[in-house]
């Protein structure tokens, strides 16, 4: 199986769908880059994360659109275009900018189908980069998927591995509901095996990246990698864990999570969000209410701090969950 980076996996998915379906269009800031520049060179940025190499040359102005800095208009235009026959992929450069376009996500795109009595389809994707760890500071490091997961009518994908990035992006583009696709900026260079072909990964199906008997660890996005390190380090102590990666937070694969907890009896949830009203507290609540009798120990919830993301690397390290915290939490469930 080919090995590639997370970013390359996303590119592959975008390419497959852009080639397959001419109603798929991409729009965002500097997706090509160079529009109006004095060098006349387009495709010089290919998106802030380099996920659109040569797309302007390949797909042209009408399908690969550099936009002004207008998040509200970008997302609304994507919604309006989706209502009238296109399959737009809008890029919001940093998830933190959701504030600019939250109305268009929450009040427009999320609700068209419902408000219009099932007569509307809004097949759009908003892809956005999230997460801390690169000292991008408070306004460029947030997660935001917890707030978006809350919204009925929106689907949310948070892939942790290149294979998931590709498979989920294919599904997101083909899905006829609005999807917000969260990609961790610190995972862009992460490598992994990625299957060839164009098979999408269904939403609402978690992956289990480790199997064990003593504890269930549910982790989101980049935290999956942290959890893997923590779990593997416990092998010598004879503690084995299930590692469940929901892959999509909406819809959420409750069944796999609950079945895993019924098998292990213990739960640690790891989420880079801030603690209040996070996906972590949501999952903990679901497990506590639906699998209470299976639990042999209190649920351990690990999130970032209840603070904005600090700039200085030492502080950012302290802000984020750490592998050691996860390991300690797993051990605690065994007491």
């Amino acid at each position: 199986m080919p090995v590639m980076t997370y970013r390359e996996a996303v590119t592959e998915a975008l390419t497959i769908e852009m080639n397959r379906d001419e109603t798929v269009v991409i729009m965002g800031e500097d997706v090509a880059g160079g529009a109006g520049g004095s060098s006349g060179v387009r495709d010089n940025q290919s998106g802030i994360w380099g996920t659109y190499p040569q797309f302007h040359a390949k797909y042209g102005e009408n399908r690969f659109i550099d936009t002004p800095i207008s998040e509200a208009a970008i997302v609304a235009a994507a919604a309006g275009a989706a209502l009238t026959g296109l399959r737009p992929i809008a890029e919001i450069m940093f998830a933190d900018f959701m504030g600019y376009c939250l109305d268009q996500i929450q009040n427009q795109a999320a609700k068209f189908r419902y408000m219009f009595g099932g007569t509307a389809e809004t097949p759009m994707v908003v892809r956005t980069a999230y997460g801390a760890g690169l000292s991008a500071a408070a306004q460029h490091s947030q997660c935001m998927y917890s707030q978006i997961t809350h919204i009925p009518g929106i689907k949310v994908a948070v892939p942790s591995k290149p294979a998931d990035a590709k498979g989920l992006m294919l599904t997101a583009i083909r899905d006829n509901d609005p999807v917000i696709f969260f990609e961790h900026k610190a995972l862009m260079a992460a490598t992994g095996e990625v299957p060839e072909g164009d098979e999408g990964i269904p939403f609402g199906e978690a992956a289990m990246y480790r199997e064990g008997d003593d504890c269930t660890v549910v982790a989101i996005g980049r935290m999956v990698h942290f959890a893997e390190t923590a779990i593997d380090s416990l092998a010598g102590e004879g503690i084995t864990c299930d590692l469940v990666d929901p892959r999509t937070t909406s819809p959420l694969d409750e069944e796999t999570i609950l079945e895993s907890v019924e098998h292990t009896g213990r739960l640690v949830v790891v989420d880079e969000s801030n603690p209040r009203c996070s996906v972590a507290s949501d999952i903990a609540g679901i497990v506590a209410s639906k699998a209470f009798s299976a639990l042999k120990a209190p649920i351990e919830i690990i999130t970032s701090a209840h603070s904005p993301v600090p700039f200085s690397p030492v502080l950012e390290q302290a802000y984020l969950p750490s592998v050691d915290e996860i390991t300690a939490a797993i051990r605690k469930t065994q007491d």
Partner: protein, 490 residues
């Protein structure tokens, strides 16, 4: 050392962690000016020209074309023309990268100690995935464990996906491969996993113990049966005769298909069904753990038989001898309350009333429904109840509270002509009474020979709860009630 400049891998952009030096445009000894391109460096995303930060002479080049270096790593040194090699080496030696890294998934804890040789090195297995069947990861794991061919399971989960519950239901219905180590017995099992709401743990345990989940009351959310409920159903159980106390269903009692192995003496191998397995397990436990001792008395029952005939005629009932025995035992337990006991580790539980387990033979096994408060019920009531319980036992329609509990058991093999036997106690009960057949025997009365109808009963006692004198006291009371049976019918 003055004016030496480190040429280090630059950090271009938020994400860059390393770069590859594609081309080096200068050589040692070349003079360079600030801003002059000295290398071409490529990252994952871009290729760019790397410019000298200072003017001077290239004193040393530490990198080769094609090398990949982490940001901050030293690539070359620019210095004054007259700087010596020693100066350069010193500078190089004292160079410390100041590049700031990213927050990585690293553990700062000391590496885990190597496992002791004897310790099983369990590690979380990377999940294996055959990929072809749509099933949740826990479903796949369970299928492997149970030896189920997951491709045959119908999925009722998300989008037709197979869930662990689906696998369990499939296995419960007999779909597991017999060869698998942990596979349940191949006996067609009751459809316990089907419509009954129970946790997978409850279903597993019920299956192991041969309990029909439909007979278990669920105490969980919305009436869901938990493992605890199943355990309660199994362990509280009334004492049985020699055949264990676990409630079983008629279907579960069906033997597995026989398999003939050729040999000199043809042998038929019968795989034990769940009920037999459970009986075997519980009896072994009882014999191994409970300190049994046995007290035997002979009871003359001529008066009882006469009394019974009159009673039945007067009341239009059909009470059996055993119904009188049950009443007698109930009253005797009330008269000797310390014998009405359950053993619980550090505790002895004494009961107000006598809940007596009665062994009922059913197809392929035995079940022990309980006559509650036998001391408070008339013989006629006991007779009705026993008849009803026995009938429902044979139809597999007993309720959990009819088989769970009891402090005393009665097992009667009199109908088979057995004169005397010693029964096995069913924990946590304190005792069990084995009743033999009543038969005419020669007895001595006041020095002369006489004939009486005599029945031998043996009480097995758990010496931790009942000692000899107490057991004897009970039997004395019991015998008296049976030999002077007026008290039984008042």
């Amino acid at each position: 050392m003055a004016d030496m400049t480190a040429v280090a891998m630059p950090k271009w952009g938020l994400e860059m962690t390393e770069g590859t030096v594609v081309k080096v445009h200068v050589a040692v000894g070349d003079e360079v000016t600030k801003g002059q391109t000295i290398m071409d460096i490529e990252t994952e995303k871009i290729a760019n020209e790397f410019e000298a930060e200072a003017s001077g002479v290239i004193k040393k080049i530490i990198v080769n074309e094609g090398d990949t270096k982490v940001i901050g790593e030293l690539l070359a040194i620019i210095g004054p023309a007259d700087a010596s090699d020693a100066d350069v080496d010193e500078f190089e030696g004292s160079y410390v990268s100041v590049a700031v890294g990213r927050v990585e998934a690293t553990s700062t804890a000391a590496p885990a100690a190597a496992p002791a040789p004897a310790a099983p090195a369990a590690s979380s297995a990377p999940a294996s995935d055959d990929g072809s069947v749509k099933a949740s990861p826990p479903a796949k794991r369970l299928a492997r464990k149970l030896g189920v061919d997951i491709a045959q399971v119908t999925g009722t989960g998300r989008g037709g996906r197979i869930s662990a519950d689906d696998v369990q239901a499939f296995a419960d219905a007999g779909g597991a491969a017999p060869a698998a180590e942990e596979a349940p017995a191949a006996a067609p099992a009751p459809a316990a996993g089907g419509e009954v709401r129970a946790t997978p743990g409850a279903k597993r345990l019920a299956k192991e113990l041969g309990i029909d989940l439909a007979t278990v009351a669920g105490s969980g959310r919305g009436g869901r049966i938990s493992k605890e409920d199943v355990e309660a159903a199994a362990s509280g159980g009334g004492g049985a005769g020699s055949y264990g106390s676990t409630p079983v269903t008629a279907e579960a009692a069906l033997a597995a298909p026989a398999q003939v192995i050729p040999g000199d003496n043809a042998v038929t191998v019968e795989t034990m069904n769940n009920m037999r397995k459970t009986i075997a397990k519980r009896l072994t436990e009882s014999k191994q753990n409970v300190p049994h001792f046995y007290l035997t008395v002979d009871v003359e029952i001529d008066n009882l038989l006469a009394r019974r005939a009159k009673y039945n005629k007067a009341n239009g009932t059909k009470a059996s001898v055993n119904d009188f025995i049950i009443r007698a035992a109930g009253l005797a337990l009330k008269a000797v309350p310390k014998a009405n006991v359950q053993f619980h580790g550090d505790e002895l539980h004494y009961f107000e009333n006598a809940d007596i387990s009665i062994a009922v033979a059913i197809d392929g096994g035995l079940i022990t429904p309980i006559v509650r408060a036998a001391n408070l019920k008339s013989v006629a009531q006991i007779a009705d109840e026993v008849k009803d319980l026995a009938a429902r036992a044979r139809e597999n329609k007993l309720k959990l509270d009819e088989i769970q509990g009891g402090s005393f058991s009665i097992s009667n093999l009199g109908m088979f002509g057995i004169k005397h036997f010693d029964a096995v106690i069913n924990p946590p009960q304190g005792a069990i009474l084995a009743v033999g057949a009543g038969e005419e025997r020669l007895v001595a009365k006041n020095g002369a020979a006489a004939v009486a109808t005599v029945m031998t009963v043996t009480m097995s006692c758990d010496h931790r709860a009942i000692d000899g004198a107490l057991g004897a006291e009970f039997l004395a009371s019991f015998k008296e009630l049976l030999e002077e049976p007026l008290a039984l019918v008042i």
